[in-house]
């Protein structure tokens, strides 16, 4: 009896090893990324290809989904169910603690979207080795893309997390964007996680940043997240009038929906 139960135990042990390969982890912050990488560039190619030559389109915005996996799943289901949205923007904070698995879980949930999605880095995404994992999965933290005559400029504004190790916000990037902007661009929008004036923004350059954005052709609006509240503001600065939309966190079960056509755009907060 005793002699028999030992091999059984050993066998059990090894079958356990076999079935649980994804239970093997080096460290919560190990930056070991599985699955698809460089998602922003791939999804931008899909968006730009799909919407080429179209002047009217719809996009949804979600933000601050950290540690609300169930709610994020529901948002993905709700957006998939409506069939009329062309792409989605995640305005940052996919992870709460910057753990590698948090990014992978969130990526797996967002990967179930029928539409391409673009991710912007949030302050929580920077914790521990989070910056490295975000970069590995999504790519550069400052980037732009074009739909119709609208330029989407996505920026890392989490200055507090970088402590002068990198320029945040990166004015060189903005300068290059402005220099290389094709003539066909008539409208610009800025997407970021933390708004100018918020606690993680470098508020020494708040006014400079805002001024620089007004130099872009036809500045329409900013979209950001971070404080977990839905806010809409109208700003008139240097003779340019634009809006600021703050997307609430996913716990509020709300996403923003923007409908753009050649005459302008409409904004809507949709509860799910």
């Amino acid at each position: 009896m005793e002699n028999k139960s030992l091999p059984i135990t050993v066998l059990l042990l090894f079958s356990l090893i076999a079935i649980s390969c994804d239970m093997i982890e080096v460290h919560p912050y190990d930056t070991k990324v599985t699955g698809e990488k460089n998602l922003n560039a791939k999804n931008i190619m899909r968006i730009e290809g799909m919407l080429k030559g179209r002047e009217s389109f719809k996009f949804a915005v979600i933000s601050d989904t950290q540690r609300w996996y169930d709610e994020t799943e529901d948002a993905v289901r709700a957006i998939n169910a409506r069939n009329d949205v062309d792409f989605l923007i995640h305005a940052g904070d996919q992870a709460d603690f910057g753990l590698t698995d948090e990014f992978i879980w969130m990526k797996n949930i967002l990967g179930r979207l029928d539409i391409p999605f673009v991710s912007i880095i949030g302050n929580h995404d920077c914790l521990g080795t989070g910056k490295d994992v975000f970069r590995e999965i999504y790519g550069e933290t400052n980037f732009g893309f074009t739909v119709g005559d609208m330029r989407f400029i996505c920026m890392n504004t989490n200055a507090l997390e970088y402590d002068y190790s990198e320029p945040v916000p990166d004015f060189d990037f903005m300068h290059r964007e402005l220099e290389l902007l094709p003539d066909t661009i008539c409208r610009s929008v800025f997407l970021m996680h933390a708004a100018p004036g918020s606690d993680v923004f470098n508020n020494n350059v708040k006014k400079v940043f805002e001024y620089y954005t007004t130099l872009f052709p036809g500045l329409q609006f900013y979209i950001y997240g971070h404080t977990h509240a839905l806010t809409v503001d109208e700003i008139v600065s240097d003779g340019v009038r634009y809006h600021c939309y703050q997307c609430p966190n996913i716990k509020k079960r709300t996403y923003l929906l923007f409908t753009v056509d050649e005459n302008g755009y409409e904004y809507e907060a949709v509860e799910f």
């Binding site: 002699n3 135990t9 090893i17 080096v26 169930d70 753990l99 698995d101 879980w105 929580h124 606690d199």
Partner: protein, 223 residues
């Protein structure tokens, strides 16, 4: 909150095995030799304490959120050696980050039962306990750096607390074949850390295979 800093817990746990050793000491016949002077007895006791402070085994553990591989030493104590305290140094390879990182782990084990088999084998159907892991890297902090508003994130990126359950098989090496160890133990553990547990608590999406992690180890009993 400050009182429960890692250093404090680390020191307390380090002292733990020495207390346990100190308690069992008077029962030891070696010091109770009659005819010794008080000063000699004290000297003997002191020698004994030094001997007990030498680690009684070494361990190698893989995974378990404490590094790809960790090597450590530790002490057995308790009536049936059912308690163990280990200290590990581990390594996290670079992967997608800027540099490889070292980790340090302080681990407390408890094995309530030991079932002997024939042929020098024994089986411990349960080992359980907790461990504290710290990443020795400047990008991680115990307390938030001063640039943050006070209590902004409210957790430490550097220190993780893990709990685990596992099982062990021990082979006691026959006297004539002993080369560097008295016994070899093979073990596995299933663990989870504070941040995974918090995440699992509020989400149906996370399944046990997401937040439970597996690790394997070998223990070489030397003393």
């Amino acid at each position: 909150m400050r009182l429960w800093s890692f250093r404090y817990i680390f020191m307390m746990l380090c002292i733990c095995p020495f207390f346990a050793i100190a308690q069992v000491e008077p029962a030891d016949t070696a010091i109770r030799k009659t005819g010794l002077k008080r000063s000699e007895r004290r000297y003997e006791a002191r020698i004994h304490r030094y001997r007990n402070s030498v680690p009684s085994y070494s361990k190698i553990q893989m995974y378990g959120d404490m590094g790809l591989i960790s090597a450590g030493v530790g002490w057995n104590y308790g009536k049936r050696d059912q308690w163990e305290t280990d200290i590990f140094l581990g390594l996290i390879p670079k992967y997608n980050s800027e540099n490889a990182k070292a980790t340090m782990t302080l681990k407390q084990n408890f094995m309530p039962w030991n079932i002997p088999f024939r042929g020098n084998f024994s089986f411990e159907p349960l080992s359980c306990g907790l461990y504290l892991n710290t990443v020795l890297d400047n990008n991680f902090w115990t307390h938030e750096p001063s640039r943050y508003p006070h209590g902004y994130y409210g957790f430490s990126t550097r220190i993780r607390i893990h709990i685990f359950l596992g099982e062990r098989i021990t082979y006691e090496i026959p006297h004539e074949k002993r080369f560097f160890a008295k016994a070899i133990t093979l073990y596995y553990e299933i663990s989870s850390c504070d941040l995974y547990i918090i995440s699992a608590f509020t989400n149906r999406y996370l399944k046990p295979r997401d937040y439970l992690k597996l690790s394997f180890g070998l223990k070489f009993q030397i003393l």
